[in-house]
Amino acid sequence: MSSLRPPALFRIWDVALIVLLLVLVGLTLYFALIPSSGEEAEIYLNGEKVATLPLSVDAVWHNEHVRVVVSGGTVCVSESDCPDKVCVARGAISRAGESVVCLPNRVVVVITGEGEVEAIS
């Protein structure tokens, strides 16, 4: 095509193009991920729902084995008397669909809300 400039490996405008693309991807991520942070943490004991805590309000739920802490929009199992401490090591979760499980104490914490990623992946 005679209307096209001959191809080059690099032109100075490439820098601007890359910056523009980074911004575009960043914006898409930003808008797509806003609604996917979770809204409520549901706590299950022996498979039965025993508590529903909104992530927007700091709160603590505990029984004789575990302590579940909601803080700053995240939830974690802060203390547990189980031997492996997998639930404590899981750390804080905040996105819809994420969960913390303590098998020995049969406690499950699940975050509900829009866009539950792990439900489909």
């Binding site: 095509m1 209307s3 096209l4 400039r5 191809p7 080059a8 490996l9 690099f10 032109r11 405008w13 490439d14 193009l17 890359i18 693309l21 575009l24 991807v25 898409t28 991520l29 797509a32 991920l33 609604p35 996917s36 996105r95 819809a96 669909g97 829009e114 866009g115 539950e116 990623v117 439900a119 489909i120």
Partner: protein
């Protein structure tokens, strides 16, 4: 001259189909990202853009997406492939027309937008905005793969320059 262009378009389509189909047979580059593909077939589409112009290249792009979707036994992929392909094609054609960018950058832009288009379709189909998390990895991968393909296309274009010049009448 028209016959020559037609033959070239046919050869480029054949190359696009073979490369694209071979790629569906290979295992994914990253096992955790099964949708991240190098997009070898896009090298042929980019060459078609350079040599034959937008109409020929557009036909090659559409046929490539549809035929590979049917051949590889995953016709639902056609929707994703066409969405990503069209977005990436439009931007690459525009950038080539503007002529301010090097081929690898144009191709990398195409790669990123291909993934962006596919993710947008996936979000629309599944109604799950959270899939956009994948964009972090897919954009990076698309940029690198697109850049590599841009370099390949640049050297293919240079190597065939003399042969193509002699063809001109």
């Amino acid at each position: 001259m028209t016959t020559k262009r037609l033959v070239r378009a046919a050869i480029l389509l054949a190359v696009a189909l073979i490369l694209g189909f071979l790629e569906t047979l290979l295992p994914p580059v990253f096992p955790m990202l099964p949708y991240a593909r190098i997009g070898l077939g896009n090298a042929a589409v980019l060459l078609a853009l350079l040599w034959l112009g937008v109409p020929y290249a557009a036909v090659i792009l559409v046929l490539k997406s549809v035929v590979i979707g049917l051949f590889s036994g995953a016709p639902t992929m056609i929707l994703y492939s066409l969405a990503g392909g069209t977005l990436s094609f439009a931007v690459m054609a525009l950038l080539l027309r503007i002529g301010a960018n090097g081929l690898p950058a144009v191709s990398a832009a195409g790669g990123i937008l291909h993934n962006l288009g596919q993710i947008l379709v996936a979000i629309a189909v599944t109604g799950t905005a959270g899939i956009a998390v994948l964009l972090v990895y897919l954009s990076l991968f698309g940029a690198v793969a697109g850049g590599v393909i841009g370099v390949i296309v640049y050297f293919v274009d240079r190597a065939t320059l003399r042969a193509r010049k002699e063809d001109r009448t």
